[in-house]
C-alpha cells in the first residue's frame, strides 16, 4: 500500500516524480510515527496533516440479490506537500479518491483528485466525514458511539455508482504494537488500525442496472511520513474473514533481492488480536495471469503455521485492475484449504 503515496504524488501529474525522489527515506519537517502510540478518538479518525501520507481504505465483499458475488472499494488518500494545513488554494494537502466495483466478469474503477483547503476534498473528525467531490464516507453512528461504528458510503464513476450503509459488529483493532506497525527490518513504520467487522447493505448501480447487495466490509486507517524502504518494490496485502467470525490481516513487502518482509494480525471474533512478526506468515504465489500487460499472481498459498492456517486463494475476477493514475490490483478473493471464506487482496509493484 505504501507505493500509493508515490502514486498520490505521481498522479497529480504524469511528471511528478523528481521533486519527491527522496521521499522514501527522509521526512523533513514531517512528524514520524513513534512506538507505543496513544490514540485519541474521535480526533484520530480525522486527518493528520503533520504526517506526509494517510488513508481511509474500505473494501467490501458483497453478495447480490441476483445471487452473484461482488466486491467494492472506496479509498481516500491524503498526501501533504508540507506538514501544515490552511484554507484556500495554497493549502499543501492533496487528496486522491479511488473507487471500484468488481464482478466476476468486470471491474469498474474511478479516480478523483483534489486539493484540500477549498472544501472540494478533505476529512473531519467530528462529525466524521471523509470526502472528495460527491464521494463521501460519513459517520451515521449514534451519539456517544465510536464514529466508525456506522458509516454511509457513496462513490460515482463514469459508468457506475454505489451507496452503502455499514454497521460495525465489533470493536476497532490495532495492528503491530498497539497500532504501531513496522514495515521493514530498517524500522520504517506507520500508525495502523482497522474496523474489520462491518455488515453492509447497499445498492450498486452498474451498467446492467442496479443490484441490491449485502455483505461485509473492512476499513483500514493508516498514516505515516517515511513508510517505504528503498529496497522494497511492492506489496501483497490480504484481509480474510473466517466462518467463525475471526479475521486475518497479513501483508508481505517484497524486497528487491527476492526476500519478503511479512507481518500479520489475527483477529478473534471479539476483536482480541495477536500480532505476528516478520516470517510468521508465509505467502507463496501460485498461478499468474496477464493483467494489463503485466504478469500478476492471482492465486496464492497463505500459511500461518501458528494458527494451522494453510489456504489457497483465488480471485473473483483475476482482472481486478485499478486503471488509475497509479495502477494496482485490488479485488475480492475466495479461499479454500484448512479454512474456507472470502476476503480482499491488494497487490502493488508489479511492473
Amino acid at each position: 500500500m505504501f507505493r500509493f503515496l508515490l502514486a498520490l504524488l505521481l498522479s497529480a501529474s504524469p511528471a511528478l516524480s523528481q521533486g519527491f525522489a527522496g521521499l522514501g527515506t527522509t521526512a523533513e519537517g514531517f512528524a514520524v510515527p513513534q512506538p507505543d502510540p496513544v490514540f485519541d478518538f474521535p480526533s484520530d479518525h480525522g486527518p493528520h496533516p503533520a504526517y506526509r501520507i494517510e488513508w481511509w481504505y474500505l473494501t467490501a465483499t458483497l453478495s447480490g440479490a441476483d445471487g452473484r458475488d461482488y466486491g467494492a472499494q472506496w479509498t481516500l488518500f491524503r498526501s501533504a506537500l508540507a506538514p501544515e494545513t490552511s484554507q484556500g488554494w495554497e493549502a499543501p494537502q492533496l487528496f486522491m479518491g479511488h473507487a471500484a466495483v468488481t464482478t466476476a466478469d468486470a471491474h469498474y474503477s474511478a479516480e478523483r483528485l483534489a486539493r484540500g483547503g477549498i472544501g472540494q476534498a478533505g476529512a473531519t473528525a467530528e462529525p466524521f466525514e471523509a470526502w472528495i467531490d460527491d464521494w463521501a464516507m460519513t459517520s451515521t453512528a449514534a451519539e456517544g458511539a465510536d464514529a466508525y461504528s456506522a458509516l454511509s458510503l457513496t462513490a460515482r464513476g463514469d459508468v457506475f455508482s454505489y451507496a452503502m450503509e455499514l454497521q460495525a459488529t465489533g470493536p476497532l483493532v490495532f495492528h503491530g504494537q498497539d497500532g504501531y506497525s513496522v514495515k521493514s527490518a530498517e524500522g520504517q513504520a506507520s500508525y495502523y488500525y482497522s474496523q474489520p467487522f462491518y455488515e453492509v447493505t447497499g445498492i450498486l448501480d452498474l451498467p446492467d442496472g442496479p443490484v441490491e447487495v449485502t455483505g461485509t466490509a473492512w476499513l483500514d486507517r493508516e498514516w505515516s511520513s517515511q513508510p517505504l524502504s528503498e529496497t522494497q518494490e511492492g506489496w501483497d496485502w490480504f484481509s480474510l474473514q473466517f466462518a467463525d467470525g475471526a479475521r486475518l490481516m497479513g501483508f508481505g513487502l517484497r524486497e528487491t533481492g527476492g526476500s519478503v518482509y511479512t507481518s500479520a494480525t489475527w483477529i478473534e471474533p471479539d476483536g482480541a488480536t495477536v500480532a505476528y512478526p516478520d516470517g510468521a506468515l508465509r505467502l507463496t504465489p501460485l498461478a499468474s495471469v496477464d493483467v494489463a500487460g503485466r504478469t500478476v499472481p492471482v492465486e496464492w498459498r497463505v500459511e500461518l503455521p501458528d494458527r494451522e492456517l494453510d489456504i489457497t486463494t483465488r480471485a473473483l475476477n483475476p482482472q481486478s485492475w485499478m486503471d488509475t493514475s497509479f495502477a494496482y490490483w485490488e479485488g475480492p478473493i475466495f479461499f479454500t484449504g484448512s479454512h474456507d471464506g472470502r476476503g480482499y487482496l491488494e497487490m502493488t509493484g508489479y511492473e
Binding site: S17, W89, P92, Q120, R156, V159
Partner: protein
C-alpha cells in the same frame, strides 16, 4: 528537339539579363508581399489558437457568470460536491509600466486532459508548482522579453502563448489577487446518473467557440493586411505581365524562325510554358525567401500593432511552415500563368507569315478604353450603393475595392480625354504629335499607370487616415489625461494611507476603480468615477444629455464609450444592463481610442455599492503641473511603491504615443513597399514600350527631329503621365481615406474620426512619383538617344 528549342529560348534571357531580372523581380516581389502577409496572418492566427488551446478553450465548454464577474468559489465547490467534473481557471494579468503578462492559473488536479496543455508533461517540479511561491511556465520568447517585476520562478516550456504564463491556480490567485475562479472548464464526459448541468447551476454554459474573442476582434486587422497583400500581388503581376509581354514581343521573329526551321507550334508552346514555369518556380522560391524575410521583419511591428490595438499577444517571431511555402509557390505559378496567358495566346495565334516587325500590343486598344470607362462608372455606382446599403467590415472593404478598381479603370479614360483636349488646343505641330503619340501610348502604359494610381491612392488614403487618427488621438489624450499624476498602491491598505497622505498635499485625489464585466454579452469594463471638475470640464464626451454629469454622479445614469455605443447601435437615453440587478440609461458617449472592448462609467458611490470587492488602489492626483515631479518623488520616498506605479501625465502620454506609432508602423512599411513595386511596374512598362516604339519614332526622326529631342520628349512624357496619375490619385486617395475613417474604422474599431488633410504629404508623394517616373523613363530615353541611326533605318527596310 524540345531541349534545343528550350536552349534557344533561354539564350534570350542570357542576352537580356536586365529583362530576366525584371521578370524575376516582379514575380519574386508579388510572391514576397503576398506570401509575407499570409505568413504574418497565419502566425497571428496560430498564436490565437494556441492561446485558446492552452486552456482547452478550443474543445471544452465553460461555465461563467452572466455578468462576467468571477465564479464564487462556493459555486465551484457545490458543483464538484454534486459530482460534476468542472475545473476552475483563474485568468488575469500582471502589469508594469513596460510589460504585461497574462496569467492563466489552472488546477492540474481537476483539469480535463484537453486543458492541461503540453506544458505539464516532462520533468516539472510539481511540489514547487503547487506550493508558494510557485512556478510560471512561459515560452522562451516571453522569458527573454520584458516582464513585470516580482514574479515567481520562470520555467521555459513550449506551447505557451507569448506574454502569457501557465501556472497553478494557487499562484495565479496570489499574483492576481483573485480567489474566485474566472470561469470553470467542463469535462466532456460527466459521470453517469447526474441531472443536466443546466439544472444544477445558474452559471452560463458556453460551448467552445470556433474562433476566440481575440480572433474575432483582430479579423479586421488581418483583412486589412490581406487587402494590402493582394494589392501588392496585383501590382507585382503588372510587372510580370510587362516583362513577359516584352520578352514575347522581342522574340516574335525568333519564334517564327524556329517554326520555319521545323519546330512544331505545340513544341514551341510547351517550351515556352516550361521556360516560364522554371523562371516562376525559381522566382517564387526567391519570393518566398524574401516574403519570409519581410514577414519576419514586420512581425515585431505586427505584434506591436495587435498588442496596441487589441491587447492580443502574438510572438514577434515567425515560424516556417512548409504548407505556407508551397501555397505561396502555387500562387506564384498561377499569377505567372495569368500574366503569361495573353502572350501565349498571341503566340499560338501568330501566323507564320505575317510581316516580321513587331506590332505594339497597344495599338488596337482604342475601343477598350471606352468599355473601361463604362466599367469604371458601373463600379462607382456599385461603390455608392454598397456604401448606402451595405453593413459590416466586408462591405466597407467592398466599397474600397470598387472605388479603387473603378478609379484604376477610369485612369486611361481620364488621360485620353485630357490629352485630346490639349492636342486640340495646341497649334505647334511637334507638341500636337507629342500629345497624339502620348495618347496612343496610354493603352500600353495603362496597366503600369493603374498600378501607380493604386499605390498613390492607397498611400494618400492610408496616410490621411493615420494622420487624422494621430491628430485626434493626441487631442484626446490631452483631454483624457487631465490629472497631473497617476498613482497606484500595492494593496488597498496602502492605498488608503496614500490617499490620506496625498489629500493635504494636492488639489484633489480622485479614485480610479474598475472591474471586468460583460456588457451586452461581450467582455467589457465598468469604471467608477468620482464627482470632480477634472471630469466635468475635460472628459472627451462626443454627445451627452444636458444633465449627464449630474445624473451620472447621482447614480442615475451611465456613460459609455463610443465603441460600445456604435457596436450595439445604442441611443442616448436607452437603458443598458450593468449587473444582473441594475439597468441604467445612457447619459453620454465618450471617445475611447485604442481600446477594443466596451466600457461604461458609473458614479463612484454606486460603483462601490455594486462591486464592494473591487480593490481601490489607483488615484489620479491634481497638483500644479510644476509640483508633479517633486510630489512623485516624495510618494516614492514615503511609500514603498514600485516606481512604475507612480507616473506623471507626460510619461503616460509618451507611452501612449509610442504604442500608437508602433501600431501603424506596419501600415507605413507596406505603403512604401507598394509604392516601390508600382515604380518598378512603370519602369518595365516603359522599357517594353520603348522597344516597340521605334517604328513610331523613326519617321519623326527622319523628318528632322534629333534623337536627343526625342529622348527628352520621352522623359517629359513619362513625367507628364505620372503627374496626371498623381492628380487623379488625390481625389481617389481622399475618398479612400474617408471610407477608411467613416466606414472601415467604425466597423473594425468602433470609432469614427474626423478627417484631416495633409497637403504637404501630397506634395511629397508628387515628388516621389515624379522621381519614379524619371527613373523609369531615363533608361529607355537614354537608349533612344544612343540608338544608332542604322537601327532607326532598319525600321524602314523591314517595312514591307
Amino acid at each position: 528537339m524540345l531541349y534545343s528549342a528550350l536552349q534557344s529560348l533561354f539564350s534570350h534571357w542570357r542576352r537580356q539579363p536586365g529583362q530576366l531580372a525584371m521578370l524575376v523581380l516582379g514575380l519574386a516581389l508579388a510572391t514576397a508581399l503576398w506570401s509575407g502577409v499570409q505568413a504574418i496572418n497565419a502566425e497571428a492566427r496560430a498564436s490565437y489558437d494556441r492561446a485558446a488551446q492552452t486552456l482547452g478553450q478550443d474543445s471544452l465548454p465553460r461555465l461563467s457568470r452572466a455578468d462576467g464577474q468571477p465564479v464564487p468559489l462556493s459555486d465551484y465547490i457545490a458543483l464538484r460536491r454534486a459530482g460534476y467534473l468542472v475545473s476552475p481557471v483563474i485568468a488575469g494579468e500582471v502589469r508594469s509600466t513596460n510589460a504585461r503578462l497574462r496569467i492563466q492559473g489552472i488546477d492540474p488536479l481537476t483539469a480535463p486532459e484537453a486543458a492541461q496543455g503540453p506544458a505539464l508533461d516532462g520533468g516539472l517540479d510539481l511540489a514547487a508548482f503547487f506550493t508558494a511561491p510557485g512556478l510560471l511556465l512561459v515560452s522562451p520568447g516571453t522569458a527573454a522579453g520584458p516582464l513585470p517585476p516580482d514574479l515567481p520562478r520562470l520555467v521555459e516550456a513550449d506551447g505557451i502563448p507569448p506574454n502569457a504564463a501557465l501556472t497553478d491556480i494557487s499562484t495565479a490567485a496570489r499574483l492576481t489577487g483573485q480567489t474566485d475562479p474566472s470561469f470553470l472548464l467542463v469535462a466532456p464526459e460527466q459521470p453517469r446518473g447526474l441531472p443536466p448541468l443546466s439544472e444544477a447551476t445558474d452559471l452560463v454554459l458556453s460551448q467552445p467557440q470556433e474562433t476566440s474573442d481575440i480572433a474575432r476582434l483582430t479579423d479586421s486587422f488581418h483583412l486589412n493586411l490581406t487587402a494590402f497583400g493582394l494589392l501588392s500581388f496585383a501590382v507585382g503581376l503588372f510587372i510580370v505581365h510587362a516583362a513577359i509581354g516584352l520578352a514575347f514581343e522581342q522574340r516574335r521573329a525568333s519564334f517564327r524562325t524556329l517554326r520555319a526551321l521545323g519546330l512544331p507550334l505545340r513544341s514551341l508552346l510547351t517550351a515556352l510554358a516550361l521556360e516560364i514555369s522554371t523562371i516562376a518556380v525559381l522566382s517564387g522560391l526567391a519570393g518566398i525567401a524574401l516574403g519570409y524575410a519581410i514577414a519576419a521583419a514586420l512581425m515585431p511591428g505586427v505584434a506591436g500593432t495587435l498588442r496596441g490595438l487589441y491587447g492580443a499577444t502574438v510572438p514577434g517571431t515567425l515560424s516556417f511552415d512548409p504548407v505556407w511555402a508551397i501555397s505561396a509557390l502555387v500562387i506564384t505559378l498561377l499569377g505567372a500563368a495569368a500574366a503569361t496567358a495573353q502572350a501565349m495566346l498571341r503566340t499560338a495565334r501568330m501566323p507564320l507569315l505575317s510581316p516580321a516587325q513587331p506590332r505594339a500590343w497597344a495599338q488596337a486598344a482604342g475601343r477598350t478604353i471606352r468599355s473601361q470607362g463604362i466599367a469604371a462608372l458601373v463600379l462607382f455606382i456599385a461603390s455608392g450603393l454598397i456604401l448606402q446599403f451595405g453593413h459590416g467590415l466586408v462591405a466597407g472593404f467592398a466599397v474600397l475595392a470598387t472605388l479603387l478598381v473603378g478609379a484604376a479603370l477610369m485612369l486611361p479614360v481620364f488621360l485620353t480625354v485630357l490629352l485630346n483636349r490639349v492636342e486640340k488646343l495646341t497649334r505647334a505641330p511637334f507638341l500636337q504629335w507629342v500629345m497624339a503619340d502620348t495618347r496612343q501610348q496610354i493603352p500600353g502604359l495603362s496597366l503600369a499607370l493603374m498600378a501607380l494610381l493604386l499605390a498613390l491612392a492607397a498611400n494618400i488614403g492610408v496616410s490621411t487616415m493615420v494622420g487624422s487618427f494621430r491628430g485626434t488621438f493626441l487631442g484626446w489624450l490631452d483631454q483624457r489625461l487631465a490629472a497631473e499624476l497617476y498613482v497606484g498602491a500595492r494593496d488597498e491598505e496602502q492605498a488608503i494611507a496614500l490617499a490620506e497622505w496625498l489629500a493635504p498635499r494636492s488639489e484633489a485625489v480622485l479614485p480610479i476603480i474598475s472591474t471586468d464585466v460583460r456588457l451586452l454579452d461581450l467582455p467589457g469594463e465598468v469604471f467608477g468615477m468620482a464627482d470632480h471638475a477634472t471630469y466635468r470640464d475635460n472628459w472627451p464626451l462626443l454627445s451627452a444629455t444636458p444633465d449627464a454629469w449630474d445624473r451620472l454622479f447621482a447614480g442615475e445614469a451611465v456613460l459609455i464609450n463610443e465603441q460600445l455605443f456604435r457596436r450595439e447601435a445604442l441611443a442616448l437615453g436607452q437603458e443598458i444592463v450593468i449587473t444582473d440587478d441594475l439597468t441604467l440609461p445612457i447619459a453620454g458617449v465618450y471617445s475611447d481610442y485604442g481600446n477594443p472592448s466596451g466600457q461604461a462609467i458609473i458614479g463612484f458611490d454606486l460603483f462601490r455599492a455594486l462591486f464592494p470587492d473591487a480593490p481601490l488602489t489607483r488615484f489620479a492626483v491634481r497638483v500644479p503641473t510644476e509640483d508633479a515631479p517633486d510630489l512623485a518623488s516624495a510618494i516614492r520616498e514615503t511609500f514603498d511603491v514600485p516606481t512604475e506605479l507612480v507616473r506623471n501625465q507626460a510619461q503616460i502620454k509618451r507611452f501612449s504615443i509610442e504604442v500608437f506609432e508602433q501600431t501603424f508602423r506596419v501600415t507605413g512599411a507596406l505603403n512604401v513597399l507598394t509604392l516601390g513595386v508600382a515604380g518598378l511596374a512603370l519602369l518595365t512598362s516603359l522599357l517594353t514600350l520603348a522597344s516597340l516604339r521605334l517604328p513610331q519614332l523613326a519617321p519623326v526622326w527622319a523628318i528632322g527631329t534629333p534623337r536627343k529631342v526625342l529622348a527628352r520628349t520621352e522623359l517629359a512624357r513619362s513625367i507628364l503621365l505620372a503627374a496626371l496619375t498623381w492628380a487623379l490619385s488625390l481625389p481617389v486617395g481622399l475618398a479612400l481615406a474617408w471610407v477608411l475613417l467613416a466606414v472601415v474604422n467604425v466597423e473594425a474599431f468602433g470609432w469614427r474620426l474626423p478627417m484631416q488633410v495633409f497637403p504637404a504629404d501630397w506634395v511629397k508623394l508628387l515628388g516621389l512619383s515624379l522621381v519614379a517616373a524619371v527613373l523609369a523613363a531615363s533608361l529607355p530615353s537614354l537608349r533612344l538617344a544612343r540608338t544608332p541611326p542604322a537601327r532607326l533605318l532598319q525600321v524602314f527596310s523591314q517595312e514591307r
